[in-house]
Amino acid sequence: MIFKKKFIKESTSENAFKAICFVAILLPILLIIVLIGDALIDGWSRLNLDFLLGLPSRKAEIAGLLPALMGSFYLMLLTAAIAIPLGLGAAIYLEEYASESFLTSLIEINISNLAGVPSIIYGLLGLEIFVRMSHMGRSLLAGACTLALLLLPMVIMVSRESLRVVPKSLREACFALGADRFQTIWKVVLPMSFPGALTGIILSMARAIGETAPLITIGALTYVAFLPDSIHSAFTAMPIQIFNWISRPQKDFHINAAAGIIVLLLVMLILNALAIWLRARLQRKVYW
């Protein structure tokens, strides 16, 4: 009987815990629904092809998102081109080559701390190093370099995580077949860890596309009536355009902002879906 009593007691506490956990998952979901719903209600009327393909204007009804959309797109491509090789390279060095030394652990601590630095700090750094010292001006390139800096710690961390998943026994098998470290990394370690690394990288790209603060700091324009034609051209990005619209006094522009938010959310959802799809697809080739 004592046993039974105790059992019941445990199960009530378990139920309570379950309920708390359920609320914990429910709240964020509700928040997202409210957010999306609010944006949809406000912005739905403005959401059409003209909005997507139009240039900005002083009249809210004909103002479009195209420069911001393309700006974000180019920005993302450039950022990826800079951050992925650097991040993967750093991760490979730290995971495969670096010996355990004071310097290595110092670098490791720094990287994990850098991931927590507010993005506006990166913006200030980018403004000084890329815009002013490197004379890139307020260009796409400067923006991409700044965002790449911001993403690097995250890219390095997810890449290292995915490299660490490859068992030591496989590396040893490779060495024992007379492979050197380079071949081992290239032929065995990377093919296995690539799906994981790629997923993490895409997710961090999705974060970058929503970044506003560092871009405003380096001086991305808020009113661009043309499309960027080279990496040196001035640009704007979706979050900046939204920020710009929402800070206008005219109510009509707020509708544009809501529509812009919907587009931005859609792009992020697509990126996330892409990450999931790629992971599922690529991992089918890795048999654990």
Binding site: E172, A173, C174, A176
Partner: protein, 264 residues
């Protein structure tokens, strides 16, 4: 039958395939091997037995310079392959490992590769162009006694095989490089008895073609498959002799206690 044949030329240790001379090895400050001098007879099976942590795995990892792959390790002394010091400055460990193949405790086929690609992995990593790769694959798999089981499913992933088959695939992968010595680090410890028996059978067949060194926890296995046996204890070589002698009439008390199961 072979076992009896080899006893006639009295001393099979005279022209060893490999030989260690006062070999010491460390993990950090821990000395794992203490002055091991051992001759590994050509084309015979050498078993290395001893309780856990006695340095037997460390020893065979020194034979193809895999010991130094782990950070913080070092060795002292010499190891000779065909009387050439493999720790000499002119020796590239990468080339050495082609001549001295290795099979590990747990089967470790490459997960991204098919059965066929696993067999060819060594050659491909070497950057060798294999024009007759079908022949190489078949030859290696036949030698590893796996061909009949996998000849129709070569495109399937290596990990789709059973544990015992995977281990034989790893042996085939090592044999595809045509090594002169095959090191086996407890190759059956992760396998069931039937799969173990198959591997033992295979070791029997490899004798005479390759010089095999096998580390094992299983005394019966050592007695069954090997020609000569070395007993390691606490990083030292206690006794090294014909397997029959080690198991029936060892010189030292420690050996007798271990092979009769009184400790270990």
């Amino acid at each position: 039958m072979l076992k009896q044949d080899i006893k006639k030329p009295k001393n099979i240790f005279r022209s060893p395939k490999m030989r260690s001379d006062n070999l010491k090895a460390w993990f950090g400050s821990h000395e794992a091997l203490n002055e091991i001098s051992l001759s590994i007879p050509t084309f015979h099976v050498t078993a290395i037995i001893g309780p856990s942590g006695c340095g037997k795995s460390t020893f065979i990892r020194c034979l193809n310079r895999m010991h130094e792959v782990v950070p913080g390790t070092r060795i002292q002394g010499n190891v000779y392959l065909d009387e050439v010091d493999i720790y000499g400055s002119s020796i590239n460990p990468v080339n050495l490992r082609k001549r001295v193949g290795m099979v590990f405790q747990k089967p470790n086929p490459f997960p991204t590769m098919s059965i066929r690609d696993n067999v060819l992995a060594g050659l491909r990593l070497q950057g060798m162009k294999t024009y007759d790769s079908d022949e190489v694959v078949e030859k290696a798999l036949v030698r590893a006694a796996l061909w009949d089981e996998v000849k129709d499913i070569l495109k399937r992933p290596g990990l789709s095989l059973s544990g015992g088959q995977q281990q034989r695939l790893c042996i085939a992968r090592a044999l595809a490089l045509e090594p002169e010595v095959l090191l086996m680090d407890e190759p059956c410890s992760a396998l069931d008895p039937i799969a173990s028996a198959k591997i033992e059978e295979l070791i029997h067949e490899l004798r005479g073609k390759y010089t095999v060194v096998i580390v094992t926890h299983n005394m019966q296995q050592a007695a069954r498959v090997s020609d000569v046996t070395a007993f390691f204890y606490m990083g030292k070589l206690v006794e090294f002799d014909y397997t029959e002698k080690i198991f029936t009439n060892p010189k030292y008390k420690k050996t007798e206690e271990y092979v009769t199961g009184r400790f270990g």
